[in-house]
Every structure is written in C-alpha cells, then in structure tokens.
Symmetry: C2
Subunit: 298 residues, 2 copies
C-alpha cells in the first residue's frame, strides 16, 4: 500500500453551501488525494472535511483549501456555536500508513510555514507538533477565540509559530498539527444501570489512572436500555482496542455484569483491528503486507 | 474498495525464463490487473502466477496468458515432477472483495468458453464451477495427465465442458474454476511431542469429524523444537481462523500443553483477520467500509 496521510481540516463556514463547495473543490481537484467525506453544521457554522492521500499531495491540498477559505470566509462577521479562531480553524495531519509521526510533524511545519508566509495567516502548531507543552491542547491554543487573537498573538509566550504577529483580520489564526487517528469505540453492558458504566469509564480513562490514551464516559442507550462505556482511543498503537475491551469486560464482571457487544464508530485504521486479531490469535510475526488487499495499489 | 478477483494460474513451463516472462507479460500489461507474484520451479517445470484486479480485466488477462502459453509451450515435449495436463494447466478464480462465488463461477465459465472456442483448447470446469460432482477435485480431473487426455476426453462422462473432444496436442487441457481463497495457518505448541500435534490435527480436520473446510497435519519444527498443527483453511468464511485457533488451544489443554503462538503464511484476505477481531471483541455491526484503507480506491 502507498504512503498515506489523512487530513481533517475544519473550516468556519457551515451555512453558505457554495463557499463550502469552493473550499472542498480545492481538495477534490488535487492530484493524489481522495476526498472521503465532508459535512457542514449550520448551528456551529462550521464544516469538517476528511481526505487522504500521498503526504506531499495532502499538504498541497490542505494549503489550497486554506488559501480558498481565506478568500471566501470573512472572520470579522463569523458567528456560530463552536469555538473558532480562523477561516481554516484547525488542520490535523494523521499518519495512516508508512508515515511516521515524526514525518507528519515535519509536514505540519511545512504546511504551517506556507500558510504563514504565502497567505499571511498566523499559525500555531499544536498536538504532536506543538513547540511548547501548553500548545499541545487545541482548547488552550484556541482560548480567547477569534475575538481575542489580536491580543493573544502579541502576548509573550503566545507568539505564532509561523506568520505575522499582527492578526490577519479577515482570516484569523489557524492551528496546524500532527496527531494519531482517533478510534471511537463503545462497549455495551448487559445492564440498564448507567452507574456501572460511569464507574468503569472513570477507571479506564487516563484521568482516573487507567489507560494513557483513553478518554471515556458512561451513558445509557435509551433505545436499547443498555449502559454503555463510550471511549475515544486517541492513540490505538499505545492504548489498543483489545486492551480497552478486556479492561471493560473484567471491570464489568466485578459488578456481575456481562458485555453484550462492542462497536467501532466511523472509520478505523485497518491495523487497529488487525492488531486485535494478532493479539487474540497469538500471532507473533505478521506483516501488514501479508494482507492481500494492501498489495493492490503498491 | 473496488471489486476484486484473484487469479492464480499454473503454467507448464518452469525452466525457460524467457517463455515464462512472455506469459507473465501478458498479465502485467493488461489494464486493470496487478501482478502480485510469480515463481518458477525447475524440478516441477512449472510456474505459478498470482494476480488480482477488476473481474473483467482478470478474465481478459487470464485469457491472454492462456493464449500465450499455448503459443510458447509444447506439451508434446513437456516433462516435470508435478502432475499436469496442459500448457495453462489450471486456472483458479478466487473472489476477494465484492465478488460473490456465483459471479466467480460465471466468470470461470466465460473464461473456459473463450479458451475452448477461440484457442481450441479443451477445458474442464472444476471446484465450485464443476458441472458434475466428480469434477470438483482437481486431482481427479487431471488423473491420467497429459499423456492420457486424448483418451479421457472421449470417455463417456469425461467430455470437456468447453472446446474440442479431440486433444489439442500442443496445448493439452486446462482446468478452470472458482474457489475460495486458501488461508495457510499454523499453531505452535509448547511441546516437542509431535504426537500431540498429530492427534490434534486428526481431530480438527474434516476427515476426522472436525471442521468442514480444514485440512491439517501435525509436524515438528526442528529449528524451534516445537510441535506444530499446520492447517489449510479452504473456506475461511465457513471455517474461520479464530475457530481453528480456539479448537487447537482447547484440544492442546487436554494434553496439558499451551499454545506458544500462531502464524499466517503468505497472503491472507483482510476479512479473515477482521472477522477474528470482530469475534473476540464481540462487535456485531461493522462494515468493511469502515476500514479507512478500503476507502482509498473506491
């Protein structure tokens, strides 16, 4: 399989479909990338685009989309329910296949530099690309939102990583950074007692002393009357799907509760599931190249 | 992911590299197929080619290769250690993705008909494509080998499915048919007692009353001094990798022996492993479309 980088930029336009199409078309027409999905939220006045491809092509497409967003979106008049600070508000780069996190970080810096220098838009590097610990968390980086950015950019310690220290009023500020793919994974319990799901969620997540790359909450599935442990695995290569499953199963047993089933929501990297098969089947030596489907498009 | 058919034709030439290249080039140059592997055995005087692609393109490539094999191979002078009856000796078609077995059978008949009518080579349909029960097993179809085919083709009940009843002396006879992909799967036991592996192999295979689509034997891995249950799962959608693993593990426990690890040999369809992940993780609803990598080449 080819080298694959995923990109999921968020744009501060979710109401004017023509403008969204103009931005998406920049991605759609870039050679070497494939648009997987895009959706707009009118309340948030925001659109999320998912695309993948050869790393260099992905960076080119992301840059072209950032440029177009800067042209068609005017942040001085933007309003919406979701926190935001710029036209291309945030642009995560996600290594999927044969791309290391180090390469993704390097690519995010190349993208950030182009946005800063060629478009004159201030850029903060975040997540794995952050140049300071306090810039890792997007919520912290975006704090103050668009309206507070003119001042924030000039605050000592919050100088942008690329681009002008003066706010680009029309386009605002962009966060660019590399992160792992997120796996949305839920385990359903054979009980309607949501307190058990909540107790397990508190134990499995990093905050509670559980797995380092796991966020979790307990909730009740009203339609099925089942309690669910709902998780986000933010780095499945370190906190795996099967360890999360086995932890929930064991913890539920302590309450005398069985696991009904589990579910993966949305897209998942193939290796997150292949890794589970390898672990349960005790397969030591296996290369992803042995998966027939990966050989189709070398 | 696109519709994918796999094809693994065997040709009766393993010594003259130029002739092998001429045959392989017919496949390599066909639009819409991808050559995955090919290898020649001088002792057997035989070559095996593996390629995949869009079903129609695969049939086209297989036909072109059969035609070229008919041109460059002369069966009247062929000798080698492996049973054979024709220039393109056997051509299995294997559904991999979004192709049903019924479609693969239909495609095998289209291919067989073209070989019979356009090339004047007699064809027996075998495996899932067999028109009579006794033609399912390739060894039975090929019995008598090339030297016995002139007579076999005229024997009542052994008339060819396509092509002439008179033997094409230069090209012989071809077997064409659809079958499931084969998964070569081994489980290694924490013992050097090969008798335990042999006993388990006898129990797990169809012949011994075990799984219907499992062939198995027990052997000793000399370098590791471990007994191994070596299996061929000839239809993983019915006899799954995880059931085979769990059966061997349980049976070994009856002898007080643990499983050290297991191994998949060579190429394996993605779903053979995804199915294992789903079973162990108790995932009820999951579409292969959720695997990110399958979305890259829709």
């Amino acid at each position: 399989m080819a080298r694959i980088l995923e990109c999921v930029p968020n744009f501060s336009e979710g109401r004017d479909k023509e403008k969204v199409e103009e931005i998406v078309n920049e991605i759609r027409t870039t050679e070497g990338v494939k648009l997987l999905d895009y959706s707009s939220d009118e309340t948030h006045n925001r659109s999320v685009v998912t695309f993948v491809g050869e790393p260099k092509a992905v960076i080119e497409a992301a840059f072209k989309a950032a440029k177009k967003a800067g042209e068609v979106i005017d942040m001085t008049t933007h309003e919406g329910g979701h926190p935001r600070m710029g036209a291309m508000d945030v642009c995560p780069l996600i290594p999927i296949n044969e791309v290391t996190m180090e390469e993704a970080v390097e690519l995010s810096k190349q993208l950030g530099e182009r946005i800063g220098e060629e478009l004159g838009i201030s850029v903060y590097l975040y997540e794995k690309s952050a140049t300071k610990p306090e810039r890792e968390n997007l919520a912290v980086v975006r704090k103050g939102q668009y309206e507070g950015m003119a001042e924030k950019l000039k605050t000592p310690g919050w100088e942008p990583d690329f681009g002008p220290i003066e706010l680009n009023k029309k386009s605002g500020v962009s966060a660019v950074g590399a992160r792992m793919p997120l796996v949305a994974y839920n385990v359903n319990l054979a009980t309607d007692n949501v307190e058990i799901a909540k107790a397990i969620a508190k134990k499995i997540r990093a905050k509670g002393g559980g797995f380092a790359y796991c966020k979790a909450m307990g909730l009740l599935l009203e339609d099925k009357n089942l309690a669910q442990v709902s998780m986000n695995l933010v780095d499945y290569t370190h906190t795996s799907v099967y360890h999360a499953f086995e932890f929930v199963k064991r913890e539920a047993a302590r309450y005398g509760v069985n696991v009904v089933n589990s579910e993966v929501i949305g897209l998942v990297p193939m290796n997150a599931l292949i890794d589970a098969a390898k672990w349960y089947l005790q397969i030591d030596d296996f290369s992803t190249n042995q998966v027939l489907e990966t050989r189709l498009h070398d």
